[in-house]
């Protein structure tokens, strides 16, 4: 094992998280390697700093403030409680919906469909036919039932 590998073991050794076999090898190495032995001393000093560190107390009336917040939350309508959590999902769904609708309909906005052109022509032809009938009606009066049957 190299010094690099032994140094990885040092950290676990400090936490008493190595196997007996690893510990035996490490202790043997430490006797022979002054660099790794020094490294262990530094790590021990850092660990000692944490051990000397005192625990901090939360601000005053922690529980009282917490229970007031719980009561407030319970008074809120359900949608107000859950809406913030789903805000992102709702936005994603909405954007996806708009993108899909846009993709499916973009042709409508940019191109005129050929079928519509054909139907426009038909309407024009029909208008012209009506026009002819109207002129005949002005000159000869409205067609009789017989004339209508024969198609004037």
């Amino acid at each position: 094992m190299s010094c690099k590998e032994f140094r990885l073991l040092l950290s676990a050794y400090l936490d008493q998280e190595i196997t007996e076999d690893e510990e035996e090898k490490l202790l043997k190495h430490l006797q022979a390697c002054s660099g790794c032995a020094r490294e262990l001393e530094y790590l021990k000093q850092i660990k000692r700093l944490f051990l000397l560190k005192e625990k901090k107390e939360p601000e005053e009336f922690f529980e009282t403030r917490l229970f007031a917040r719980i009561k407030d939350k319970e008074r809120q309508p359900i949608w107000q409680v859950y809406l913030p959590a789903f805000k992102k999902s709702i936005l994603v769904v909405l954007i996806s919906f708009l993108l899909i609708v846009g993709f499916l309909n973009y042709k409508k906005f940019f191109y005129q469909r050929p079928t519509e052109v054909v139907s426009d022509l038909l309407i024009e032809t029909r208008l012209e036919e009506n026009f002819e009938e109207e002129i005949l009606a002005i000159y000869y009066g409205p067609p009789s039932i017989e004339e209508r049957r024969l198609g004037r």
């Binding site: 140094r7 990885l8 040092l10 950290s11 676990a12 936490d15 998280e17 660099g35 020094r38 530094y42 790590l43 000093q45 850092i46 660990k47 000692r48 700093l49 944490f50 000397l52 560190k53 005192e54 625990k55 901090k56 107390e57 939360p58 601000e59 922690f62 529980e63 403030r65 917490l66 229970f67 917040r69 719980i70 939350k73």
Partner: protein, 191 residues
């Protein structure tokens, strides 16, 4: 552990007092974990309250697959990570350079015997200096060092809280310690 499960079961049945007992038991744990990760007491207080609010609303979904404390640590760490990501910073931008005075005081503390460090002022100073060093580390290193050095969790517990393998716990802790050692290099003579 059994006691926590019993309290939680009572709370699920509607016993508010059981929840109060859980808060009283774990408030220091949650607060100090958050403080060590976030590096600010005001923020730690607020986030610790949110953690308990989450426990209150999500207690029903806790299936008891892990211990209550592991579940609580997971909620706490996740809440801190969310908060840090919301601010889109990995390292809290507090002052992280040590003054000459701080360096001397830290050296002095390390040179003295534990029983000599009794004055409150010295303890508080030491706490601030260590926190300053912690604040200068990336989020991942701060979390793993907090769980190991402040909370004293085993590698197995850390792997459950952080959802990483035991091998990763070993390597991440090694790297975090190396980075901390670099920050505190003024304490150690040149190699």
């Amino acid at each position: 552990m059994e006691e926590d499960f019993k309290l939680l079961a009572r709370f699920k049945k509607g016993d508010q007092q059981a929840f109060e007992l859980l808060v009283r038991k774990y408030k220091m744990v949650v607060f100090n974990t958050v403080y060590s990760i976030m590096g600010n007491t005001q923020e730690a207080d607020d986030i610790a309250q949110e953690v308990f609010l989450k426990v209150y609303t999500k207690a029903g979904s806790f299936k008891g697959e892990s211990s209550f404390s592991t579940w609580l640590y997971r909620i706490t760490v996740n809440r801190c990570v969310d908060e840090l990501r919301k601010r889109k910073i990995k390292i809290i931008s507090y002052e992280t350079e040590f003054s000459q005075d701080e360096k001397l005081r830290l050296k002095d503390v390390l040179a003295s015997r534990e029983e000599d460090i009794t004055e409150d002022l010295r303890k508080k100073e030491l706490q601030d200096v260590i926190q300053k060093a912690m604040n200068s580390l990336p989020e991942k290193d701060r979390i793993i060092l907090t769980l190991k050095e402040i909370e004293g969790l085993s590698y197995n517990e850390i792997s459950k809280v952080m959802k990483i393998s035991l091998g990763k716990v070993k390597i991440w802790l090694f790297r975090a310690r190396q980075k901390l050692k670099e920050k505190l290099s003024f304490l150690f003579p040149e190699e």
